[in-house]
Symmetry: none
Subunit: 217 residues, 4 copies
């Protein structure tokens, strides 16, 4: 699963003709963009860290922004992955009995992904507001499509009386918000790689599910 999720492997295996140098450039860029931000990282620094000439970067990526987009764009496909039709169908065909189970399955699935790609994710989150090329497809393809699929799932469980009867949009926002908020709080405030993440994630799941428990008072 690690390999399947790892953005490096995705990036670098997809396209067969990837040089060793190109790999080192991507690696260095990811590290430095995550650490200092895209705008505050110079191509000179990247080249030095990657152990290549500065010109080499521009042989593979036409501009610095190109490099950023090459790193960050696959994120979207990956984020969206578990919501691709066949997967959701799979979910629906062998349905989790409870929303709780569905949620746990999704989060555990994404958890590995976030762990593996925490740096790329940081960059993604940081740069999205400043690049329309990133923002527009993100809203169009990720937010909208995931919302649609997710809405179906939510309705599925709402019809079974398992979760609260708020508008699906609000339910989704709440669910996502807690998850994303959790991840961002990690990266913005603590940037820690230690800590008992599993337990905290489990608590988070519990709170979400509790929050969505159908009202009976």
């Amino acid at each position: 699963m690690s390999e399947e999720n790892n953005i490096f492997d995705y990036l670098l295996n997809e396209n067969e003709k990837v040089t060793e140098k190109q790999r080192r450039i991507i690696e260095a860029a990811v590290e430095m963009f995550a650490e200092n931000g895209y705008a505050a990282t110079s191509t000179n620094q990247i080249a030095k860290r990657a152990g290549v000439a500065e010109g080499t970067i521009f042989r593979h990526y036409q501009t610095k922004k190109d490099l950023l987009l090459n790193i960050v764009s696959p994120m979207m496909a990956k984020i969206i992955a578990p919501f691709v039709i066949k997967d959701v169908h799979k979910i629906m065909d062998t349905p989790y009995e409870r929303y709780e189970d569905f949620l746990r399955a999704i989060i555990l699935n994404r958890q590995e992904f976030f762990k593996t790609n925490i740096n790329v994710f940081k960059i993604f989150i940081q740069e999205i507001p400043f690049h329309p090329e990133l923002k527009e497809p993100f809203i169009e393809h990720v937010v909208k499509k995931v919302s649609e699929k997710f809405a179906l799932v939510v309705q599925h469980y709402q019809e079974r009386g398992q979760i609260i009867n708020l508008p699906p949009k609000a339910v989704i926002r709440f669910t996502m918000t807690v998850i994303i908020g959790y991840i961002i709080s990690q990266h913005v405030i603590f940037s820690e790689k230690d800590g008992n993440h599993e337990e905290e994630i489990e608590q988070t799941i519990q709170l979400i599910m509790h929050g969505l428990h159908p009202k009976e008072h």
Copy 2:
């Protein structure tokens, strides 16, 4: 309340000797930092937007970073404000009967603050990961102190059996996470000034409270 919360007024009234030009510099810098990011905004651009000479900026702020810190630092005092001892005591002395009420009071209080200072808040969120001068006092003074105070509040309501008996840290994280996540989702994805924010915030509050409802199953 608006005035009391507005960071500009805070910034600009505190220090009596604030010239018209200085005000325009701050205003321009806030707009541009929020729009394009700190690193991608040049002092030249700020000067032009503010209608002052580039040198004037450096007469008031020794470096560009100084300007950033001057804009963003008061945020911390402001964020922390409602949790300052006397205020919490006030809360506790005339206690809200339910955690729900406490939460709503806090959020309504902060809501105006976020609305008024959305741009400064954006900058704050964006730049915190890259500036230790910002990050350290934020964790030390904001996160830690607010957590401590908040923990007392949480315990207060836990003792009264109103909210779930998870570790206060988890309860706080959940509460904050939902709120912060909500705001960030606004700013990252939609950056919209329209929309029925009041209703969405109320839904969010409902979900938080529900999520923290003590288990009885």
Copy 3:
């Protein structure tokens, strides 16, 4: 007359706010563009020759091309000058008895101009084919307008039976061609500042006039 014709004075007096450094930049750029060509001259070289920092160039001229255009554009107004309506009217009102006299007046008038601005003229000639921004207004304003006025003059003398009855366009092309060809041959082949230019120019005039003598055989 020298002052009136000198492009530097034109350039630098027109706009009152011209720094000493700016003057040195223009001077250095003209020398180096003429010597090595625009594309083969680096802004670094110009800065060094001018004794200023490289950044200073870009404070005054937004791009290197801007610098070129600033040097070369006034050429057009200057070239066109003697053909501006009032001047031609003046010529026609106190008409030169012979085309020969008109020609000599024009050439003597331009001679000083070419001498004084030989370097700018070199640059102009060299760069015109590669810059549409230069080429289009040159054809539109210089070639066309001068041709129109010149055609009137030619017809004037043709009607008086002084010059050959070829289409004015051909007469003009011939006259201009000889003059321009003369100057270019100087600059391309000899780039000499010595030599008995006056006599050679007089011979050139003689040959033009002779060539245009009405056929009587």
Copy 4:
């Protein structure tokens, strides 16, 4: 005659071992140098237009300048061609009765040459001022030798009273100037491939001959 004059054929047939790729490189380089200038054309652009790898250029020509010189040097031999001793002897042995006939013969002979090699000629004219390697042999071998031969021709007709008794140098300069000026005016100002060139050239010839008509007034 076309083949005899075409510089490509000259260039490419001379040396038997000219690959297809080499041909494409020369072709591409000529087009781009003529269009954008030597200094403003990158070897990368040439390689792309030629459909070869950048390295291939340097396999055939050690430097970019080498490529230029290889394109442009044969021009000299070609320009000089009709004045090479045996040819002039041929001219003198079967002498044209009038200078007019000689001139027309030369120009018609050169006309085809210019048409066929207009691009190489453009490059030649453009680059001569900036490359001593080009300029010196041009003056030494082309200008001087052609002048000498031409002077003999001029004296030949002057002795027969057919052309004006100015110094041969002036006569030559005038003749050449009109022709070169004509071509340059085409390339600098109009770069047109349409238009009735034949007629215009004939007019030009007429004007030259007329200009050189011995004075009889």
